[in-house]
């Protein structure tokens, strides 16, 4: 028998010893996770109240950190949200698992109420200070500044140093963490990657950020509509397992089974009940009281429901960015050449409603790293509109991208790998229940159903994009052919004449004949190019692809582009023939005529 006494620990004690599980596994991740938690909370709070979010982020180095190889870093995030009452402040920042969203089946960024408390704990452990919060709700006269610490033993937030604070707006919240960490700006886990990614999937966000040794950057909102926060709808029966189904019945007490099915679930109507009967459910069972239904009967009912086709879960239960807003937002990624955006109808994957959105954009001006001409494309992953930045290779989204044959759409792709080229593939998955691989929500579990749904969306985006790429290929093909005629005609005829010792007269005649032959090929190439050009224009006119005019890509992001608006580039496309023909000759004349 064990001599040691069995003791219980608080949730805070557990997490304070296992912060690596929630995104604090390295100094670099600590900075990113703290920022992410603060920004996520701000966005969720603004959306709850229908406020268009304006968030300011300041990150600076204050000196050396207490841990080895770290800096002391100040992270300040201020929003124009509704603010928090002083009563809620210790719960939000100092208490684990205190959440207004847990288990509500909504597509909010935060779910369990762990992240921001973990950030406070990290600050407390590394700089001996919790988080400094300044809050003002509409009803408060003045902003109030307090310091929140986590009472680790009792899993409670403790307020200290309450005083008058300062905020830019009439209401909002500001949080300031001073932590040990390391700053990484670019790359997979970079702060800039996170901030630009957040802006991409939140078109209604205006973001100001100041990073060390960088100028202030402002990303202005491109949509003035605050997204409708999805109502917590009743569960869809196909999203449940048998145990959940039975447990759900206990919440409704004594009522007829058919009434329970209609009231307790979404997408069950009188017609659905009739379908259940058709599929083998005893009509009498439907009139039974729920509390009288036996376990085996529940099993039969459950199996009939799963056999019956029901309407997909309501689009209201999942939140999407929408093709229009996503299109506008994509242009904030950088110098975008052209892009396509697809928002799929929500569907059920692994018993959960999911909605997938994909944007594929070609960027200009990238010179090194991902998204360059020879490197793999840049992949931006989002889950409930939060960027995912680590453990890319294990993620369902990357698996789906790799499974698509991008060569069919004109991109280069090594076998079973990411495609190559100066492209960004942004994949957003929205669902009230995303299956993450870990508590730090870094990567999505790759189930077959989910990968297939993602794959379909990617294929659709690829198909849309391919019309423009094909046109470019044809154009390049045409240019290559022109170049070949100019370059190889004289060489071939010269060599043949030297070997056969043919006179100049034959040489001239052969040159003319060769030009005639190759000219015929050129006519075919021109025709193919025209057809491809027409197809690309049609696709653009239908809003399936957007081609950005060179000047407008650099214009201010506020400039809105309607879904059907297409601005054709007047300059040459991005295709890059190795060398352009410079010599004068009949072929050059033909080209200028074309």
């Amino acid at each position: 028998m064990a001599k040691d006494k069995i003791t219980s620990s608080s949730t805070a004690e557990y997490f304070s010893k296992n912060l690596q599980q929630v995104g604090f596994s390295s100094p670099t991740k600590a900075v990113l996770t703290t920022l992410k938690e603060a920004v996520d909370n701000s966005l969720d709070a603004c959306e709850e109240q229908g406020i268009l979010p304006e968030i300011s982020v300041q990150i600076e180095k204050l000196g050396a950190g207490t841990l080895k190889n770290t800096d002391l870093i100040r992270i300040k995030v201020e929003d124009n949200g509704p603010g928090l009452s002083l009563e809620d402040v210790p719960k939000v920042f100092g208490e684990y698992l205190a959440s207004s969203k847990f288990g509500r089946g909504r597509c909010s960024r935060g779910q369990q109420g762990i992240g921001i408390s973990a950030a406070t704990t990290w600050a407390q452990l590394t700089s001996a200070k919790g988080v400094t919060v300044v809050t003002k709700t509409k009803t408060m006269r003045q902003p109030v500044q307090v310091q929140v610490a986590v009472d680790i033993k009792h899993n409670k937030g403790v307020l200290k140093d309450k005083k008058e604070g300062k905020l830019k707006g009439p209401h909002g919240l500001s949080v300031e963490f001073i932590i040990d960490g390391r700053i990484q700006l670019q790359g997979e886990g970079g702060l800039i990657t996170y901030l630009t990614g957040t802006a991409l999937v939140n078109p209604h966000l205006t973001l100001h950020y100041t990073l060390p040794e960088q100028k202030v950057v402002t990303i202005t909102r491109v949509s003035n509509e605050s997204p409708d926060v999805p109502e917590a709808t009743e569960p869809h029966p196909h999203t449940m397992k048998l145990g959940e189904f039975i447990a759900h019945s206990h919440l409704f007490g004594r009522m007829a089974l058919k009434a329970w099915l209609k009231k307790g679930f979404s997408r069950i109507s009188d017609n659905s009940l009739a379908e259940f009967v058709k599929n083998g459910l005893d009509k009498k069972t439907l009139d039974m009281s729920v509390d009288k239904v036996s376990e085996s009967q529940f099993k039969d009912i459950f199996s009939v429901i799963h056999k019956t086709e029901l309407m997909s879960p309501s689009t209201k239960s999942v939140m999407t960015i929408g093709e229009e807003s996503f299109s506008k937002s994509v242009r904030r990624l950088g110098e975008v050449d052209f892009f396509s955006v697809v928002t799929r109808k929500p569907s059920i994957c692994d018993y959960k409603p999911v909605a997938v959105e994909v944007a594929v954009a070609r960027l200009k001006g990238l010179t090194k790293g991902e998204g360059t001409e020879d490197g793999p494309v840049q992949v931006l992953r989002f889950a409930n509109r939060v960027p995912l930045q680590f453990d890319k290779s294990a993620c369902a989204m990357v698996k789906a991208i790799e499974s698509v044959n991008w060569r069919a759409y004109g991109l280069q792709q090594p076998k079973d790998s990411l495609p190559l080229g100066p492209y960004v593939i942004a994949v957003s998955l929205v669902s009230p229940f995303i299956k993450f691989k870990n508590a730090s929500k870094e990567t999505i579990d790759a189930s077959d159903e989910l990968v297939e749904e993602l794959r379909r969306t990617l294929i659709q985006a690829g198909q849309r994009l391919s019309r423009h790429i094909k046109k470019e290929h044809r154009e390049q093909d045409l240019e290559n052919k022109l170049r070949y005629i100019e370059q190889f005609c004289p060489i071939l005829v010269d060599c043949l004449c030297r070997i056969t010792k043919a006179p100049d007269k034959r040489k001239k005649k052969a040159t003319e004949g060769l030009e005639k032959i190759l000219g015929r090929d050129l006519t075919v190439a021109k025709k193919e190019f025209k057809e491809a050009d027409l197809a690309a224009k049609e696709a653009a006119a239908k809003g399936k692809i957007q081609i950005i005019k060179e000047e407008s890509a650099e214009a201010a992001p506020e400039e809105s582009v309607s879904e059907t608006e297409v601005v054709e580039k007047k300059t040459k496309p991005k295709s890059k023939p190795a060398t352009k023909p410079k010599t004068k000759g009949p072929a050059s004349k033909e080209k200028s005529a074309s």
Binding site: Y484, C495, I499, G513, I517
Partner: protein
Amino acid sequence: MRSESIPKISKELCSRMLTDLENARRPILEAVKCSLDNSNYNPKVGYLTPGDKKVRTELNVSSVQKMSRAIFLLEVLLRNIDTGAVNTKRELYYIAKGEVKHDPHLKPLDFQDQSESDAVIDFICEMLECYREDLNCYANDRGGQTYSNQLVVTETLPDGTKAIVDLGSLGTSPFQPKNRPQSLQLKAKKKIDFCLVVESEGTANTFVANGFCKRNNAILIGAQGVPSNAVRGWAKLIQDQLKVPIYFFGDLDAYTIQNIYRTLKAGSAASLIRNSDFSAPDVHFLGVLPEDIKKYDLSDYPVKETDVSEARALKKAADALKNDPFFQDKRNKHLSKLLEWLLKNKRRCEQQAFFMVDPRDPTMPEKIIVEKIKKGIYI
């Protein structure tokens, strides 16, 4: 085809192309399709021969670069034939780069790496149906180290003089045939009983050091893996000129049977146009045979299917059984059964395993080989 007729045929080809161009017709270059699906096997002929399939390259915008490069390199090769200069493929690659460097007008023809110029040289050979040695383009000599106390080789040099090499006077040094051994004349000082081609060069050396050539009136050749043109041409020469039985001794595995032995006996699909001079159809497979494993209790081991090269060899063997006319011919059913045995049992046994039969007798493998030849235990 001999080098002397190549300039004539080339000029005719170029003249035809020029006439086509003058008439604004698309010139077409035709080359033998060197692949398994264009290979025929007739046991009376004894080696893989080309079928009727041709690779046709018609001049158009897409093929103009390939055609220009072919004619450009053909001119270089004709110059070599004219002056008697010889080159390797690598040297020709640099010669082509040099031509481009000295004449900027030729820049579009520039080769980015040797594989590009190699492919053009192969295309010219297939088009003219000649060996690249006929175009004075030689590969490195590899394999074929030969030992014998009875063999005398007479080589006719380009200037017409003759060099005579008595292999018995070379001691333990081998004689190595050239890639085009057809200019050699063979003579036996004394009756030669057999010729043994050993897959492993090292094992062949061991046999010589242990006195194989002193005890046997034989020719011993080290193949050094997949037989080179030199080994293949040399075996053919021994078969035709000396008319002695030839035996191949190598590992019992899919790669050896399907690749090394088949190439030595019947040539390969890639060299369809030269198999007639570079295969020895009378060569027998002496072992290691599955019955040897049983009889001599040899140590064999399972094929590692996780090993990429071994898995590939098995796959190729399975393909060969389905598609290779050599293995499909009923006269070679013993060999195809051997392949089937290997595919089924997934085991392999190395030639050196004969050394385990009596570890204290270094001549035991030789004794087994001689016994197998005497008793006719081979395929």
